[in-house]
């Protein structure tokens, strides 16, 4: 056993209101720069929808992630080892700016400087790259709230495998539905971006598992952009370097939650440490599709198990981090309750950001044109959900419904339980029946409810002490590090000549 710690995340989609505050917080802190205007390290997509970059989940188009070759070995789908050399001049699967959008601003000066004329002056849209007039064709949230759209939602790759009837239902007016999918880098256990970098510029931090790009070693071979199946590495067109979400490590190191977590209005985000067994990574990444979710769970170790604690200590993990892992809200969601699931685990990167799948809005049952709220169908069953189960299975279960059904069933049971507790119009026996069916005890249902609805800052973000100060002292003058404000080197990101 080779135990490592990983800062992991849970996004509770049932709570996401799609306000994009997280995206703006991230943009203001990290990507409000030349060359990074088009980047959204954190973005929020409407689902069903095409996302950003457009249809990023269509791996026939983007060739992201891992695949098994004819010898059943895991290889990078875009350009693996053998193919990287002949393709280094032109990456055949590199998305271009057209797949994202061309960033623009407005010529506000024209409002002040326009010569006197018959018409009111306007602020024309101009490209942030060329400064020329631009005919805006796409934006980072171009299909925001367009669930049911034939142009956008209908092109969602997750609709694959849905019957014609299910698709029609998704588009019928009474059943129209959408929800939001906030996305950041998943800081995967088997990151394809890291494995694809010819320069070895990408790496996983040993202590906390954050995946970073060494800006000094990146040479713009662009492999990571093509390799990441979530399209969460971005090419800075100005500096000629790739960039990605850094999980706000300078904030984490000082005990603060990442900007997107901190600013989340719906309080959907949870962060905490998971301990995992690095020796079994390859084995798990190779499992068949239908075992991947369970396989990833089997990697994650119980931080209360004395044997695991001893193993973690001998692997050099500080006691403070182990303690933090014991309080991790992520462990509760992913392991104790199993209601948080990894996105598209069939890409085999073993993402460490987990999603609690959203419950669709309650459907009123219509009888003779009148809404009927009779008690026995107060909360419709998950199979009557507006979003077909197969859709969530494609997104969170590698196409298999079992794990998603289990997670949804528990959430539904919590709703029944709380209704019985607070409103009282549901009798206890009905609530208990739902809890029993969902494999849930009253205590766990209460705990899920508390961590979902009544969670404080401290409940949501259990940030491990990162002990960077000790680590840094051994190799560098702390004052020098202080001057570098956590970035490693001082100096503007000056583009080469």
């Amino acid at each position: 056993m080779n135990i490592r710690s990983q800062v992991s995340m849970v996004f509770h989609l049932d709570k996401c209101i799609g306000c994009h505050t997280c995206s703006i917080a991230c943009k203001n802190v990290w990507t409000d720069r030349k060359g990074a205007e088009y980047m959204w390290w954190n973005n929020v997509e409407t689902k069903p929808g095409t996302g950003y970059p457009t249809q990023w989940e269509d791996q026939d188009k983007y060739r992201g992630g891992w695949e098994k070759n004819s010898q059943d070995k895991l290889v990078i789908k875009s350009t693996g080892k053998a193919r990287v050399v002949p393709n280094i001049f032109h990456n055949p699967h590199m998305p271009s700016m057209d797949d994202y959008y061309e960033p623009w601003t407005y010529d506000y000066q024209n409002l002040f400087n326009a010569p006197e004329g018959a018409d009111q002056p306007i602020a024309k849209a101009i490209s942030m790259i060329t400064g020329e007039d631009i005919d805006i064709q796409a934006g980072p949230n171009w299909d925001d709230d367009l669930g049911g759209s034939e142009i956008y939602a209908a092109n969602d790759p997750n609709l694959a495998g849905l019957t014609e009837q299910q698709r029609l239902q998704l588009n019928s007016v009474e059943r129209l539905v959408f929800y939001y999918l906030p996305r950041i880098c998943n800081h995967c256990l088997n990151p394809c971006c890291v494995a694809s970098c010819p320069s070895g510029a990408l790496y996983k931090r040993g202590e906390d598992g954050i995946v970073l790009i060494d800006q000094k070693r990146c040479r713009a071979w662009r492999s990571c952009v093509a390799a990441c199946p979530y399209k969460k590495t971005y090419f800075n067109w100005f500096t000629g370097k790739s960039e990605k979400c850094i999980l706000c490590f300078p904030r984490l190191e000082t005990g603060q939650a990442p900007a997107c977590f901190h600013s989340c209005v719906g309080r959907i985000r949870y962060l905490g440490v998971l301990l995992y067994d690095a020796d079994r990574l390859e084995e798990v990444a190779n499992m068949p599709d239908n075992q991947l979710v369970e396989g990833q769970r089997s990697l994650i170790l119980n931080p209360h198990d004395p044997e695991v604690i001893r193993g973690a200590q001998s692997a050099g993990i500080p006691d403070s981090v182990i303690e933090s892992a014991q309080q991790s809200p992520v462990y509760k969601f992913v392991m104790d309750w199993k209601i948080a699931l990894p996105p598209h685990i069939e890409y085999r990167t073993l993402p460490m950001l987990f999603y609690v799948p959203p419950m669709s809005p309650v459907i009123a049952n219509f009888e003779d044109g009148l809404a009927n709220h009779s008690m026995d169908s107060l909360f419709h069953g998950i199979d009557q959900s507006r979003v077909p189960m197969q859709y969530f299975a494609n997104l969170f279960g590698a196409g298999h419904e079992g794990v998603v059904r289990y997670a949804m069933g528990k959430q539904l049971a919590v709703r029944w339980h709380r209704r019985a507790e607070t409103v009282g119009d549901v009798d206890r026996a009905t609530a208990d029946r739902y809890l029993h069916e969902a494999d849930l005890t009253v205590e766990d249902a209460e705990a899920i409810y508390r961590l979902t609805s009544l969670c404080t800052f401290e409940d949501r973000f259990v940030i491990p002490p990162m002990h960077r100060e000790q680590a840094i002292e051994m190799i560098k003058d702390p004052y020098e590090v202080k001057a570098e404000t956590g970035f490693g080197f001082v100096g503007g990101p000056q583009r080469g000549l």
């Binding site: 790259i129 494995a195 996983k204 190799i475 000056q494 000549l497």
Partner: protein, 226 residues
């Protein structure tokens, strides 16, 4: 200025200045501004014509440059190879083909950078100077191959000794001064390109990722652990 002084300047002083600049500045830049070492790819901004310009150019220039190095390093072996006319023809035609490939690719690169407004934004004055130098150099190389054929042989007998004399710090310009002006131009421009090299995007050839094929797929870095 007498011809002698001019020759001494072009084929002795200039090469040393350029080589000195090359070594000093590439090392200095790598140490002081390693962030600036990048291929500065523009594929992200324009992906339709990128393949047809960049790929022929790179394959062309790599083979042609490698050919020059081979003739410089093992001139005797090359002459032995060329002693059969058929082998000479094959070598010359291959070299010319890759020279043309370079020229076509380079023209494509320049046209692409001129025509796409986004790529034009990321093209610096240095890039334009470099493209002009490379275009003249490739053009003169192809002309030399056509006007003064069997270059693989006369390079081995005449140019290799001159280049070696430069490297051995006892410059001997006898052969090179007797060359036609078009070949002299090629030589002078080659040294100028070497001198200009550390100030351009060309530095990315020095950071080609050779360890990739041997390293483990995943990279983990620990603080304070090697």
């Amino acid at each position: 200025m007498s011809q002698h002084v001019l020759d001494q300047f072009m084929f002795v002083a200039l090469p040393y200045v350029c080589l000195f600049t090359f070594f000093l500045m590439t090392i200095y830049r790598y140490r002081m501004q390693s962030f600036s070492y990048s291929s500065l790819s523009s594929q992200f901004l324009e992906n339709k014509h990128h393949f047809w310009a960049v790929v022929p150019f790179h394959y062309g220039i790599l083979v042609v440059t490698a050919g020059h190095f081979v003739a410089f390093l093992i001139p005797r072996t090359l002459l032995a190879w060329n002693s059969h006319p058929l082998r000479l023809y094959v070598l010359e035609i291959t070299a010319l083909a890759f020279g043309l490939l370079t020229f076509i690719g380079l023209t494509g690169v320049i046209v692409r950078r001129l025509s796409s407004s986004k790529v034009r934004i990321v093209t610096s004055p240095t890039d334009w100077i470099l493209f002009a130098m490379l275009l003249i150099q490739t053009g003169s190389g192809i002309s030399n191959a056509l006007v003064y054929p069997w270059g693989s042989s006369w390079f081995a007998t005449s140019m290799a000794p001159y280049l070696w004399s430069i490297l051995k710090l006892s410059p001997d310009v006898t052969f090179v001064t007797a060359m036609p002006w078009m070949i002299k131009l090629h030589v002078v421009l080659a040294f100028l390109t070497i001198g200009f090299f550390p100030f351009t995007r060309l530095v990315h050839v020095l950071v080609i990722p050779n360890p990739y094929l041997w390293r483990k797929p995943q990279v983990v870095r620990w603080y304070g652990r090697k």
